[in-house]
């Protein structure tokens, strides 16, 4: 037993001795420089899992485990940025984590506050080397003093270089998606600022109101005295689900950005009263009505643009330590397409270049292979809809 203690102490001494330390440092630099030569993932995400278990197995306090985890994070960030990764996203704290013991939550908050406020003190160095720091998540759940530190750090680094560090602080992916949906809806329910005639004339040479008037005139000619008022016609016809004679105005409205009666046709299940209401409020030219962007213009990109990671490159690699093989509400939307997910059976404080290296190499190997042979697995470009059509086409072709 004593020999092993002596041995480990000797090992520690040897590793801490200046020449060995220097050699290892040089080796690290060499490896990182080598990784730089190939394709490098642009956006890497880490789930820093295993700090508590590390503390338990090593017989130290949980807080110490988190401190060591922070050191591991610093090491990995160094590797990532030196090898050319643009964006690193880390999962620091989940909204679910508030359920943990108050002591641990407080300690984590304190760690974050201390590190962020220390960072702010080194303004000059940060400006020279710094990455942009962003904190993603529900900031309203934070304590005021932590929030102040977060705000200062984010403000200070917002003008910095081209590397980004996303810290997901109280974050869950479901919350992120929900707030993206909410924001999109809020944005689309803001009436357009400009008045209707100007927007119409800028978009197309035809005037909507003119066409509507023409059609009304026609309808009155056809129907004669049947129709008591113009408003009634419009509302009835669209409530019926779009009579054929009104195809023309419907088509015109669909081109425009207004909330048109044609888009209500898609709502098969919606009660008829709203269809009528919407239609009444829309095509009446005299009444001052709100004009909205058409919801049909919402795409996947719209939603992606409302996520916290709206301006980051797509996630290329997600690494989760400690052998737990699930995402735990992290980057659900972002992981979705070509992200390679890697689960490593190692605790986060132990995580270092030596464990990250095989992951990076495997990724580089796959990417350079798929570049050589774009049909192979792991094709890198193109979005889903194109891929679907492409692969359909391929099936037919081959």
């Amino acid at each position: 037993m004593s020999t092993s203690i002596h041995l480990s102490r000797f090992r520690k001494w040897l590793l801490a001795s200046p020449p060995i330390e220097f050699a290892i440092g040089q080796l690290r630099n060499l490896l990182v420089g080598a990784i730089r030569q190939g394709p490098v993932p642009q956006h890497v995400a880490f789930v820093m899992d295993g700090n508590r278990r590390f503390a338990r197995t090593h017989g130290i306090e949980t807080v110490e485990g988190h401190n060591l985890g922070f050191e591991a994070l610093a090491r990995i960030l160094e590797v990532c940025y030196k090898s050319g990764v643009k964006v690193v996203t880390i999962y620091a704290f989940s909204i679910e984590n508030f359920k943990r013991s108050k002591f641990e939550v407080d300690a984590l908050m304190e760690l974050a506050r201390v590190q962020l406020s220390q960072m702010v003190q080194h303004g000059e160095i940060l400006d020279r080397y710094g990455a942009k720091v962003r904190v993603l998540g529900r900031l309203d759940l934070l304590r005021p003093d932590v929030l102040a530190a977060v705000d200062r750090a984010v403000d200070m680094t917002s003008g910095n270089g081209n590397c980004i560090l996303n810290i997901c602080f109280p974050y869950t992916s479901r919350d992120e998606i929900t707030s993206a949906v909410r924001q999109t809806v809020a944005e689309y329910s803001q009436p357009l600022p400009s008045s209707r005639p100007s927007t119409t004339s800028s978009r197309s040479p035809f005037s909507e109101t003119h066409i509507t008037q023409n059609i009304r005139a026609q309808a009155q000619v056809v129907k004669g005295e049947d129709v008591p008022s113009d408003t009634e016609t419009a509302s009835q016809s669209s409530a019926e689900g779009g009579a054929s004679k009104h195809n023309l105005p419907n088509g015109v409205y669909e081109n425009g950005s207004s909330f048109s009666s044609s888009s209500t046709l898609h709502l098969a299940g919606q009660p008829d009263t709203t269809n009528g209401k919407a239609a009444v409020s829309e095509p009446t030219p005299g009444k001052e009505s709100h004009v909205f962007m058409s919801p049909e213009t919402i795409t996947r990109q719209t939603l992606s643009d409302h996520l916290f990671t709206y301006d980051n490159p797509p996630l290329d690699l997600l690494v989760r330590t400690s052998g737990v093989e699930r995402l735990s509400d992290f980057m659900l939307w972002q992981c979705h397409e070509d992200t390679e997910i890697v689960f490593l059976d190692i605790l986060w404080p132990d995580f270092d270049l030596w464990h990250f290296m095989p992951v990076l190499l495997g990724w580089q190997r796959r990417i350079s292979k798929s570049k050589k042979n774009p049909d192979a697995e792991g094709n890198f470009d193109g979005d889903t809809s194109d891929c679907v059509e492409e692969s359909n086409g391929k099936v037919k072709d081959l």
């Binding site: 730089r36 989940s94 909410r182 809806v185 709203t274 093989e325 659900l332 992981c335 359909n392």
Partner: protein, 362 residues
């Protein structure tokens, strides 16, 4: 590589909540580890001139050295990964011999009997191949998986295939699965009941002749077919509907909560449309639907039959706590990335799931 002495200094500082060292001390501590400012890509011009004039040869040698190291590392890594691949291939073959189902449900049940837990909802990601009979192969794989799942006692199987080609041929797929089940279970009376559906599609279970009550087997298997359009596209549809409602003043953006989104998204995968004719968006009917939810919306285990773990457009909402297991690649060459759906891969996934500990909230 931070030296031991500096590490200790830093740790002391952290322990005392950052009071021990002043900002200048910390900068001094940090300075040796910062890269040379001239190495930065965004350096000011006058510095670059100076730096490149100072060490042109050294920079060249350094980059050549890095390139050489890159090549060497990748050669070594390539050899190692080939070796591991072939090792795994051998192990796979051994497993395939030891564990073979022989189309006997009893054998499959025996294989999973010792497991502590089984997923209630198993999800698999399959991919369409590029051969001529890709669809036939895919359907056969689904049928095999269905047979294994029902034999091992998994009540719900969801199959994700990106293009959604399976959804267009549900009746044929139903026949394929039924014939597979009959090869496992024998006479139709002993076969488990099968329900097959996809989002926005009605449930497909033929009730020709054999009423489900007089079968001897009371197992039921529900198969859910998913495709890429059930992923992000669903959220787009939901947002469109919500935006329309908000524009007509029936809903304010603050009403959109996680619970609402969860309920709406879950409904799509758990409740098939009742009428055969309308495959349209019926989730806008907000009224309380009395459909029993057939499927637990969150899969417990996700099996990826592919060389590496990639979700490939899988619906994002429900995989929050899903265990993921990749059966691993046997694709040694570049061209044949065919991942056979094999019984031992399925079984390994189940073992893995039983061994994993479940912790909520990370």
């Amino acid at each position: 590589m931070v030296s031991q002495r500096d590490k200790e200094l830093f740790r002391d500082d952290v322990r005392s909540r950052g009071t021990k060292l002043s900002a200048a001390d910390r900068e001094n501590l940090l300075r040796p580890y910062l890269p040379d400012p001239s190495d930065l890509p965004r350096r000011p011009p006058q510095r670059r001139k100076k730096a490149s004039r100072r060490t042109p040869i050294r920079t060249f040698i350094k980059s050549q050295l890095h390139l050489l190291t890159y090549t060497v590392i990748h050669i070594i890594f390539g050899i190692i990964s080939r070796l591991t691949l072939s090792y795994h291939a051998v192990v796979d073959r051994i497993f395939a011999i030891i564990y073979y189902h022989h189309r006997t449900p009893e054998l499959i049940r025996k294989d999973v009997k010792s497991l502590k837990r089984l997923p209630e909802h198993l999800s698999v990601i399959l991919s369409l191949r590029k051969e001529d009979d890709a669809l036939a192969i895919l359907m056969d794989e689904v049928a095999e998986l269905a047979a294994w799942s029902v034999s091992s006692g998994i009540p719900v199987l969801s199959v994700y295939e990106k293009t959604g080609v399976l959804k267009s041929c549900i009746p044929v797929l139903y026949q394929a699965i039924m014939s597979k089940l009959s090869s496992y279970y024998g006479s139709p009376a002993q076969q488990p009941a099968l329900r097959l559906f996809a989002p926005h599609h009605p449930i497909y279970n033929q009730q020709q002749g054999v009423a489900p009550s007089n079968t001897h087997n009371d197992n039921t298997l529900t198969i859910l077919l998913l495709s890429a359009t059930d992923g992000r596209e669903t959220f787009v549809d939901l947002t469109k509907t919500l935006a329309e409602m908000s524009q007509s003043g029936k809903l304010s953006p603050e009403d959109i909560t996680m619970e609402l989104v969860d309920a709406e998204i879950s409904e799509i995968t758990t409740q098939p449309t009742q009428t055969t004719t309308s495959a349209s968006l019926d989730r806008t009917t907000m009224g309380p639907s009395h459909n029993v939810s057939l499927v637990k919306p969150e899969p417990d285990l996700l099996l990826v039959f592919g060389p590496f773990l990639k979700l490939d457009g899988y619906p994002p909402w429900h995989i929050r706590l899903t265990e993921m297991f990749c059966t691993g690649g046997r694709s040694s060459g570049i061209t044949n990335c065919d991942e056979a759906v094999e019984y031992h891969g399925f079984l390994r996934g189940l073992w893995h799931y039983a061994g994993a500990q479940m912790r909520f909230g990370r």
